[in-house]
């Protein structure tokens, strides 16, 4: 294949089943001549640091706060997944949001959507937590909940079902208002996005195609993984869970089909300002200060909106 540029992707988490869809798109982009190097760092903020310092090109996450604070010209450019999370507490200790005064809370990562949700709900219910700890991975948090190591956390849909299955009645899921916001997006240096236009547009196109394929038929994730030999080393337990997990994800619209647009960004502004992750009023924030939508707009134009 011809040379279409290089990109270095830094994840803030260890490779696992939930990355399979992304890695399929990467594999397809590689077929089209984009060289991709992936590294997995210990935490999201380390990955962000790697992007800021130029050690990697593309990061995964929602670095709104980071972009607002630092003058580094970081921009998000692709919406990977929506914020669909379920706050859960140990029923023996807590029942409602109001009980959480002084509780110890575990969320995914610093500045993550999970933290934003828990902060927002604390604000709305007038409670303050004793501490917030960062335990990456819904699976890990669910495990810790089952082990009784933590009492308050927030997990994804798949794990919320798991908790009900493993310990029926033990956990209470707290109510949440309707939230439409990005959970994870791809971001990169703006200059880099402009110079590596070709590679970026190939990646974005393949992402959209893959996402759509999976949304049509979640079991495709298994066949595609086999076809492209994606993440061959992940543990067998995760492989077994792959199709059920994606089926559940698709059922709650976890994977946007169009990769984000101006109006989804405005929804993000509303949510992240009210949670306190972003300073200021949502109306005053400019889309182009946070997102670089050109590649995704071009791709959607080419592939058609869904």
């Amino acid at each position: 294949a011809q040379e279409n540029g290089t990109m270095r992707v830094a994840f803030g988490d260890i490779p696992g089943g939930e990355m399979v869809n992304f890695m399929i798109a990467v594999a397809r982009a590689e077929e089209r001549g984009v060289k991709v190097e992936v590294s997995y760092l210990q935490s999201e903020d380390l990955a962000a640091q790697a992007i800021v310092s130029g050690q990697a090109d593309i990061g995964v996450g929602t670095p709104y706060a980071l972009i607002q604070k630092v003058n580094a010209p970081i921009r998000m450019f692709y919406q990977l997944s929506m914020l669909r999370f379920y706050p859960v507490v140990n029923g023996e200790k807590y029942q409602t949001w109001n009980d959480l005064q002084g509780a110890d809370v575990a969320v995914h990562g610093r500045g993550s959507g999970t933290e934003a949700i828990m902060k927002l709900m604390a604000k709305e219910n007038g409670v303050t937590y004793n501490s917030v700890s960062y335990v990456p991975g819904s699976g890990v948090r669910a495990g810790a909940l089952l082990q009784g190591r933590i009492d308050v956390s927030i997990v994804d849909y798949e794990r919320s079902r798991l908790l009900e299955r493993e310990a029926p009645g033990k956990f209470v899921f707290l109510p949440l208002p309707e939230i439409t916001a990005t959970d994870e997006a791809l971001y990169a240096n703006r200059d880099w996005l402009e110079t590596e236009q070709k590679a970026v547009s190939i990646l974005v196109e393949e992402l959209i195609k893959t996402w759509r394929e999976i949304n049509m038929d979640p079991s495709a994730v298994a066949t595609l993984r086999a076809k492209y030999n994606v993440l061959p080393d992940i543990e067998q337990i995760e492989v077994d869970e792959l199709v059920p997990a994606f089926t559940q994800g698709v059922s709650i619209d976890l994977y946007p089909s169009n990769g984000g647009n101006a109006s989804s960004v405005v929804e993000d502004f509303t949510f992240f300002t009210s949670s306190g992750s972003l300073d200021g009023v949502a109306e005053d924030l400019e889309v182009e200060d946070y997102w670089y939508l050109a590649p995704v707009e071009a791709a959607v134009k080419k592939l058609g909106t869904m």
């Binding site: 962000a48 640091q49 310092s53 980071l66 630092v70 610093r110 700890s133 335990v135 810790a144």
Partner: protein, 270 residues
């Protein structure tokens, strides 16, 4: 019956010169510090990376954090598990170490396990601690103990084992009891090495607590590091890391002073 004159100790080394009103070694030390900080400042100004702040902004951030109380609060948080862990390791470590030095059975049971723990990267086990001790202060204390205890035990053991045999025989020749032998001769004789072990233990425990704060739950100084990293305030992050290095150097020096003050009066005059 003897006209006694005091003995002059052999003064070693070349004569020392003076530069700008201070001893030349002090002058060159300060110069080397200035060079290091200067290089840091310049590297930050180029900058070699957006995530690499200058020395001056790091210092500004540090003083800001000192004066608004954040650093002091953070150290308060960090020192809790560290202090507890070191105290526990010191107490049990010295006890086990002394018993290993005095008793063959105790030595047989403990020595290999502590040698293994000392030579291996126990830090790898820190993520497991959460499963056994949760995410609170207990887990962090355990992390400190895991890293600090082996070195304290082994140093104490070696110190007791190598206690000067002629001092022990001297004590026995004056019909000292076994207890007197241990407390008046063996332990003070071993004190410098035991203290060296404690110093190393504190340094290792410090690593333990910071790892725990970065890996288990961010509190104290580890929280300052990861928080400021997450919002890309790298000067604050560097300031936090910088204080760790300074703090540990100060602490080790402090322990040395305590040791000399209370356990080895003869060194005071040197």
């Amino acid at each position: 019956m003897l006209a006694a004159t005091s003995v002059t100790p052999h003064a070693k080394g070349e004569k020392s010169d003076r530069l700008f009103g201070m001893s030349d070694t002090l002058f060159y030390r300060i110069l080397s510090v200035l060079i290091v900080f200067g290089v840091w400042e310049i590297a930050g100004m180029i900058p070699i990376s957006i995530a690499f702040p200058t020395f001056s902004s790091t210092m500004a951030a540090m003083f800001e954090m000192i004066f608004d109380g954040r650093l002091i609060y953070a150290y308060g948080e960090t020192l809790k598990p560290l202090g507890m862990g070191v105290a526990i390791s010191a107490f049990f470590g010295v006890t086990i170490g002394v018993s290993m030095g005095l008793n063959r059975l105790s030595q047989w049971v403990w020595e290999p396990i502590f040698v293994v723990l000392q030579a291996s990267p126990v830090a790898a086990l820190i993520p497991l601690i959460t499963y056994a001790y949760g995410i609170g202060i207990t887990a962090k204390t355990v992390a400190v103990i895991m890293l600090a205890a082996p070195i304290i035990v082994l140093n104490t053991y070696k110190a007791v084992r190598n206690a000067n045999p002629s001092l022990i025989q001297m004590c026995r020749s004056f019909q000292g009891t076994r207890l007197q032998e241990i407390w008046i001769v063996i332990v003070p004789n071993a004190a410098p090495v035991i203290f060296a072990g404690l110093r190393l233990g504190v340094a290792a425990g410090f690593i333990g607590v910071i790892l725990a704060e970065l890996l288990i739950t961010p509190t104290g100084i580890g929280d300052l590091i990861s928080y400021h990293r997450s919002i890309a305030e790298y000067d604050y992050m560097y300031a936090a890391v910088f204080t760790i290095i300074v703090f540990s150097a100060v602490m080790v020096g402090f322990l040395e002073t305590v040791e000399i003050k209370y356990f080895r009066p003869e060194k005071k005059k040197v």
